[in-house]
């Protein structure tokens, strides 16, 4: 049972990808079925982790250190649940988005491969397996991004591919050094064995740098805005909400699990400072962006920055309920952002389809005639700013508390500025929805496309904002009691 639940989230989308390649004419139907099954298997596994504890299995029955482990603990399960639900929403949306388009048979295999890679990353317990899944992720993401075949999209995604390959190479060299020193690639075994040494330090730098490139941490973020802005809407949603999260998840896992003994305050501070740069630079560029999807892409750069701000806080906080709170808040912010960004991009795609363009200054008519879509943008936007009642507000509260408690008050200035800049660029978009266009007749205009966007945005605000407790339970934390 354990093996099944751990393998299904990886095997099902892979199978779906193969089937949709073989039978392109019924690709959308197969794709949605595969999506539903994958989402269900992901949620099933999350339920198991919730109920019992971390799950772990070694493939083929080969014992460690030779075998390849697959594991799910609270952290993986949270992100797996997010990718299941977001992936399902994107799949449903994509059916309508690509209907009648000749891109449809190309989309489904690539998207399901991307999903395979995502689940593989979340569930892998072996460093090299992670490498393979990372590469698969990069390849399918770059191919998906270039789906429209336009010059800008292909050029931007070619750059993304090359950058991703550079990141993977760096990561792989780090893995090689680790293997040189410790003779095993299993994460569980390594976290027990790793001691501070020059080799381990070099390895963590190489791996982090490679993954930071993939996670678009400032100043290595340059590839993201054009790649995400030129991709079709469901692909942008997947890229911004899920793909960069996978890279961040890996850095988090490596720093807090594998290399916990050797990470230093200085190194964590560097990550935090880069995150601060991401917040300020990304928000500033988003404010100046002329196109809606470019704004959303820069917003992703900024949001990733928030996630990296957690590193110096986690490093400085001694182990205990307060640190657990910070960790859970980091996961909460990542998950909320995933839902919010996906909802935002899906809604932006609808607006673009309706208006024929996505230049923000001229969006008035489209925004006003689609109330449900504009509402989704508003909800997702408030989660991106970090306003109540969204999950990111709660995460921000805990993050700020952590900053006060560890005495690192300078991050507060960054958070405050980031919030205000985000409010500026989100409301720049939303103010277009209050013009003097004719009143829309009813709330929902295109159910199949608008409902997924609305539900995703709503989850980030209402669900995660008011019921974030399950994340703490999933991670097995008690948290700071009243």
């Amino acid at each position: 049972m354990t093996t099944d639940s751990l393998i299904l989230p990886i095997a099902l989308p892979l199978l779906g990808a193969l089937l949709t390649t073989a039978l392109p004419r019924i690709a959308p139907v197969l794709g949605v079925i595969a999506a539903i099954l994958t989402a269900l298997s992901g949620l099933w596994l999350t339920g198991q982790v919730w109920g019992d504890a971390a799950q772990h299995v070694v493939l083929g029955g080969w014992a460690l250190p030779l075998g390849i482990g697959v594991a799910a603990d609270g952290l993986s399960a949270s992100l797996l649940a997010m990718s299941s639900l977001v992936g399902l929403g994107i799949s449903v949306y994509a059916v309508g988005y690509f209907s009648g388009s000749d891109r449809s048979p190309h989309f489904w295999p690539l998207w399901l491969l991307l999903w395979t890679a995502l689940n593989g990353i979340f569930l892998a317990a072996d460093l090299f397996n992670l490498y393979v899944m990372l590469e698969l992720l990069g390849l399918s993401a770059a191919a998906l991004g270039a789906l429209t075949n336009s010059r800008e999209a292909v050029a931007a995604n070619l750059r993304y591919l090359l950058v991703g390959l550079l990141g993977s190479m760096s990561y792989l060299l780090g893995v090689a050094l680790i293997y040189t020193a410790y003779g095993t690639l299993d994460i569980g075994l390594l976290s027990e064995r790793i001691q501070p040494s020059a080799l381990a330090a070099t390895s963590v730098v190489l791996m982090t740098a490679g993954l930071a490139l993939k996670a678009a941490l400032f100043p290595l973020h340059f590839w993201l805005p054009p790649a995400h802005a030129n991709a079709p809407a469901p692909v942008s949603a997947a890229l911004s909400a899920l793909v960069v999260k996978a890279a961040f998840y890996l850095i988090l896992r490596l720093w807090t699990d594998l290399f916990a003994n050797i990470t230093t305050t200085g190194a964590a501070f560097i990550l935090g400072a880069l995150g601060a740069g991401a917040i300020l630079w990304g928000s500033w560029r988003a404010l100046r962006a002329e196109r809606l999807k470019l704004l959303a892409a820069y917003s992703t750069v900024a949001q990733i920055g928030y996630l990296f701000l957690f590193f110096p806080l986690l490093q400085a906080m001694p182990p205990g309920p307060a640190r657990d709170d910070l960790f859970a808040a980091c996961v909460l912010m990542a998950v909320t952002h995933g839902f919010a960004k996906a909802g935002f991009f899906l809604a932006a795609g609808l607006v673009q389809k309706n208006a024929g363009h996505d230049r923000i200054d001229e969006l008035g008519g489209a925004a006003q005639s689609m109330p449900a879509t504009t509402f989704s943008i508003a909800l997702a936007g408030s989660a991106l700013i970090g306003l109540p009642p969204s999950g990111s507000f709660i995460a921000k509260w805990v993050m700020m508390r952590g900053a006060f408690e560890t005495g690192q008050w300078w991050w507060l200035i960054v958070i405050a500025t980031g919030t205000l800049l985000a409010a500026a660029y989100i409301f720049r978009v939303l103010s277009r929805a209050f013009g003097q266009e004719p009143t829309p007749r009813c709330f929902v205009t295109d159910a199949r496309a608008e409902i997924p966007a609305l539900l995703l945005a709503l989850s980030s605000v209402a669900l995660l904002g008011l019921a974030a407790g399950p994340i703490w339970s999933l991670l097995g934390f008690e948290g700071v009691q009243t």
Partner: protein
């Protein structure tokens, strides 16, 4: 689990939901469903009123009403009804009912009504949430939601002016929200969850933390002061007068500014404790800021020709009476400040309703155009007169009662300079209200009004526009005349003061 199902735990939550659910449903309505929308609006308002009456009775008898939802470990959303919350909730509920009627009439034939009433209901829900907030986290959450819910209402008309006014509003309130958040989290990191407890919780903090506590207070004051329109954070209020009259009246004269003032009262009494705040010198800071605002607002109001702008500056000035009352140590001043929360609300809303009537019926937006309106619209102008005289402080209208208590409390606490401020403010109020009354009643009306709109009614204007100001004007008179009766705002404020100073 079974505790959750007791009605005392459900009541605060139910009061919140009674406007939230209709609001959410209204968004989904088609634009033409007038009847259904009206039904939802009124049903929500009436249910809320009924529940609030139950709450008043329960809190009076000393019952505890608390809805506690755990968002995450250590982070609870708490809706707790104490005497102060009941005051604000009742004010909001009664005035929401009246404003809903007014808004239905005012916005007839306007576009985007489903959107308007949806956000309108959200605003009231947020205000109720602020009123019932039982800890600082909940307060901050609903405070920010109020900003989000009021923005679409300010921007509603869609004109470039409206967009600009909304942008300014947002800039101020978001910056204030960030300041409030920093102050709140800072405090939380020092003390743990900050529950609102009558008498304050911070008096026992060690000496070494006092400088931090002072800094926290300043952050909180800036955050709350934006909404409460304390000088120099008041700039958004005159700009947001571009909103339709129902918005200006309920939200910017009552809900939003009162939320800020209410927050200041909460922080002083239920977080710091009034004696501790006095000890730290915070009350002096507050008193000075409030006094400057009172004088500044009144002076600015003198020079405004636009009627709504004049009333906006009057609000800036008058709301600071509440802060002033909170800044004087002593129960009588507390009573004066707290009761002014109610009195200013009902008087100001009357004035704004009348301003809206003049604009809708006659196209009169400026004071200079108001010659002789008293002849044309006597009932509206009568209501306006009651409100204006109350603002000046003429007995027996409500405003006199609050000023009396403020003055008495100041004298008792030995803060005689406050009496000067009150006197100056009264004179200035007379200076900008009496000319309007004179013009309205004693001048000849012009040949034709700027934009007369003939209503199909035997009264001077639509019923839905006429009754609300008359009702609220009557409330102003009653609150003053029956101030000593049980359950009057004054008696309730006395109850609040008693419970604050007793422990």
């Amino acid at each position: 689990m079974s505790q959750l199902l007791t009605w005392t735990a459900l009541l605060p939550g139910a009061i919140l939901l009674s406007s939230l659910i209709p609001g959410a449903l209204i968004f989904l309505l088609k634009e033409e469903s007038h009847l259904l929308r009206g039904v939802l609006n009124m049903a929500g308002a009436i249910i809320k009123l009924v529940l609030v009456v139950v709450l008043i009775w329960g809190v009076f008898l000393g019952g505890v009403f608390e809805t506690r939802i755990s968002i995450a470990p250590g982070l609870d959303l708490v809706l707790h009804a104490d005497a102060l919350s009941v005051l604000f909730v009742t004010l909001s509920t009664v005035l929401w009912l009246v404003t809903t009627i007014y808004a239905i009439g005012y916005l007839e034939h306007s576009p985007n009504r489903s959107r308007f009433f949806g956000f309108f209901s959200l605003c009231v829900s947020a205000t109720v949430g602020i009123a019932l907030a039982g800890n600082l986290l909940t307060f901050v959450i609903f405070y920010e939601i109020l900003t989000l819910a009021t923005y679409p209402l300010v921007a509603h008309r869609g004109t470039p002016d409206a967009t600009r006014g909304a942008k300014i509003y947002l800039a101020y309130t978001m910056a204030g929200g960030v300041a409030l958040l920093i102050g709140a989290v800072w405090l939380r990191s020092l003390t743990g969850p900050v529950d609102f407890v009558e008498g304050g919780v911070l008096a026992t903090m060690p000496e070494a933390l006092h400088p931090q506590l002072i800094a926290i207070f300043l952050f909180l004051l800036v955050g709350l002061g934006v909404k409460a329109a304390l000088f120099p954070l008041h700039g958004w209020l005159p700009q947001s007068m571009v909103a339709p009259a129902p918005v200006s009246s309920l939200l910017h004269a009552v809900a939003v500014v009162k939320a800020g003032a209410f927050g200041i009262v909460r922080v002083v009494y239920d977080v710091y404790g009034v004696e501790f705040a006095s000890q730290l010198g915070l009350l002096t800071i507050l008193g000075v800021m409030a006094s400057i605002t009172i004088v500044y607002g009144s002076i600015m109001a003198l020079s405004q020709d636009g009627l709504k702008k004049r009333l906006a500056y009057s609000t800036v000035s008058q709301v600071s009476y509440i802060a002033l009352g909170a800044s004087i140590l002593g129960p009588i001043a507390t009573i004066g400040g707290v009761v002014h929360l109610v009195h200013q609300g009902i008087m100001k809303i009357t004035l704004f309703f009348c301003a809206g009537n003049y604009a809708e019926t006659l196209g009169v937006h400026k004071v200079s155009e108001m010659d002789g309106v008293g002849r044309r619209m006597p009932w509206t102008t009568l209501a306006f007169t009651v409100g204006a005289l109350g603002m000046i402080g003429i007995p027996p209208i409500a405003g006199f009662v609050s000023k009396w208590y403020l003055g008495l409390g100041a004298a008792e606490a030995g803060e005689h300079w406050v009496l000067l401020i009150l006197a100056a403010s009264t004179l200035l109020n007379a200076g900008y209200f009496l000319p309007i009354l004179y013009k309205a009643w004693f001048r000849e009306p012009p040949q034709s009004w700027p934009q007369e709109h003939v209503f199909d009614s035997r009264f001077e204007t639509m019923g839905a526009l006429l009754w609300p100001p008359l009702i609220t004007a009557a409330l102003c008179l009653l609150a003053g005349l029956l101030a000593m009766a049980p359950f009057s705002p004054l008696e309730w404020a006395t109850l609040i003061a008693r419970r604050e100073y007793a422990p």
